[in-house]
Symmetry: C2
Subunit: 218 residues, 2 copies
DNA sequence: AATAATTTTTAGACTTGCCTAAAAATATTT
DNA sequence: AAATATTTTTAGGCAAGTCTAAAAATTATT
């Protein structure tokens, strides 16, 4: 049996490995989970003992096959619950993270698969993140950071890199939710600000930071 | 903040107090939660400390107003999730208890009320148990144990006292699910067995035990 | 009312998961 | 390469929640 705490560590390690493409460090895990390096070291020993990670002192960790399988299942659960909360219960996309964080730990034989079925097998969650299927396969969808578009390029908002409520609410306010169309007018050389036209013809200026946190499909 | 373990104790005390109409004993709580009397004593001290129960050594416990409020909210959550699992995800009534036991601990501002709304404000769960509303008010529905009917009485199955999977599956097999109509033909004096006629005209014999665990509305 | 049986509590220990402070190892600078 | 800075681990401790075994209190029996 695996505890909630252990599950959270696996997910954190998965998340870090995904970005960094190298072994996850103790400090990175501590930062991700808002805990201390000492606590992380404690837990890494336990996870290594259970063969869920490959751990070498001072060298960081990587998930084992089983650890990867568990982390993927957890992300699947998290994202399916997010879809449920938004699509069925009417929560906003910036309100669902903490709830899904709890719901993903609910254990039950075919709960996830029934939920998946009930929701119509969604491939992406309310933030545009892919939902792995029951076999752990990830959907792929070509997308680019808004910051990489060239003036004149048109795109559709497909996801976010920053999942903070502050960013999501700002996007709501701008009308830049998933599916919104936009066109890059120009990039200001001085500070890399981006002038875009929205689908209803408004022209708005976005900071470089926004450009690096918004995914669009060209 | 209240822990999952504390919540489970409150629910157990509520359940026992409901039946016994007197202070819940340490042993009764231990039996309900499948733990030891020593563990219960430990926890009772903590709950008393938090003013969730009135606890006097060797004298059993009763819920405080706040304890009662929390236990009621918990039962509300549990039963709403059971409705969700059966109505929306298609689980059988004997499969949902353990899942709801986990889901009831999920904390979130208006999650329960949104769920309640999504489900159409059900008044009873899949086992016929009442679901308290957001203000903690209980629906009442007159019902009697099948064992108390007189020959010739007709009734509709409205609930069960025994929630075990074995009993629920047996009822499924007999076709005696919620809403099923039946008529008591006779009570066998020898062993209090009950001969009933089902709505499709079958005559079946039920043990005294079944008679004491099935609720019907006459 | 005294003894026996039962229930409840206390005492002490264990695991999980977390912490701080100090030590050890690794990485970076000069 | 030596000194410094950073990262990671160890050591020791704490709280929650559980356990067993023993002591204390209550209840039942004779």
């Amino acid at each position: 049996m695996i505890s909630h705490a252990e599950e959270n560590y696996l997910k954190a390690i998965f998340k870090i490995s995904e970005k960094e493409a190298k072994a996850a460090s103790t400090n990175a895990i501590a930062a991700e989970l808002q805990t201390t390096a000492a606590s992380v070291t404690d837990m890494l020993k336990r996870l290594a003992e259970k063969n869920l990670i490959a751990y070498e002192k001072y060298r960081g960790v990587e998930l084992s096959g089983e650890g990867n399988r568990l982390a993927t299942a957890l992300i699947r659960k998290h994202r399916l619950w997010e879809v449920f909360l938004v699509e069925k219960l009417g929560f906003a996309w910036d309100e669902v993270h903490d709830l899904a964080e709890q719901l993903e730990h609910v254990q039950g034989d075919d709960l996830v698969d029934r939920l998946d079925n009930f929701l119509g097998h969604p491939k992406f969650d309310p933030h545009g993140d892919p939902i792995p299927d029951a076999q752990g396969r990830w959907a792929f969808r070509p997308q680019s950071l808004l910051a990489t578009l060239k003036p004149g390029d048109r795109g559709v908002v497909t996801g976010v890199d920053d999942h903070s409520a502050a960013f999501l609410q700002y996007l709501d306010q701008l009308g830049l939710t998933l599916g919104a169309q936009l066109e890059l007018i120009e990039r200001i050389p001085y500070d890399q600000s981006l002038r875009i036209r929205t689908q209803d013809g408004r022209e708005i200026t976005l900071s470089e930071k926004v450009g690096h946190n918004l995914f669009v499909k060209i």
